[in-house]
């Protein structure tokens, strides 16, 4: 399961995407709208900003905004940033690979093979689906 942190990030990004035309959006507005602790959300948005996904403006009229159009922000990027590996096992992770310590040889390990397939099936969706694809329908 995705952590609360990543779940909150998605909901915050959805709110930002659904209000792109309204200029910078307040943390407090997102927090209230999405039922998220404001201080926790603050940290999350900052992390997204430091990763170049969000921009911000300080002072009156300030807030956060998307740095790119929603259709260019892949879901996989957000998950990897906040949650780490998407794969189910370290030995099949593309971005956070670690050797398997319980099997003799990954090259002939059937578990490795199946979990690679699971990873591929998952990434096929998460790398192609973007923020645009998770906006509220009929809104």
């Amino acid at each position: 399961m995705l952590s609360k942190k990543t779940q909150y990030a998605f909901h915050a990004l959805i709110h930002l995407a659904e209000n792109v035309d309204k200029g910078p959006i307040l943390i407090s507005e997102i927090a209230q709208e999405k039922n998220i602790s404001i201080k926790f959300l603050e940290n999350i948005l900052l992390e997204l900003k430091n990763a170049g996904i969000l921009g911000s403006k300080k002072g009156k009229g300030g807030g956060y905004y998307l740095m790119r159009p929603p259709k260019e922000i892949a879901l996989a990027k957000i998950i990897r940033l906040l949650d780490g590996p998407i794969a189910l096992l370290p030995c099949v992770s593309l971005n956070y690979y670690e050797r398997c310590e319980n099997c003799r040889d990954e090259a002939v390990c059937g578990l490795n093979e199946v979990m690679s397939k699971v990873r591929d099936a998952t990434l096929k969706l998460l790398e192609t689906k973007t923020l645009k694809d998770i906006l509220t329908r009929n809104a």
Copy 2:
């Protein structure tokens, strides 16, 4: 990522499957063969036994053995038993569903829709692939 518990369980089950013809297998043998703490493994095998996946025999000549042929033990079952939900979000979990507290209406939530697809793609593999499919190749 799967927990160590689930990862260990898979490796233990692989060892049991690869030695079905040898009668009950000792916990200590599996622990040594797979580099797993024997006491931790003990708890895991017990849980698998209580779930009906393994059988056991006490005393001399005892040990653990599979209750069904490897091809009838789906990977999804093991994961759900030891790790819980396979889905990335509570609101798209088939077996551990919980309402989303950050969105207004799951029926029109795009995140819900995409994550349902991820779940389906994952389950298509994990429900059909079995212990038989993760055995060491060329062994």
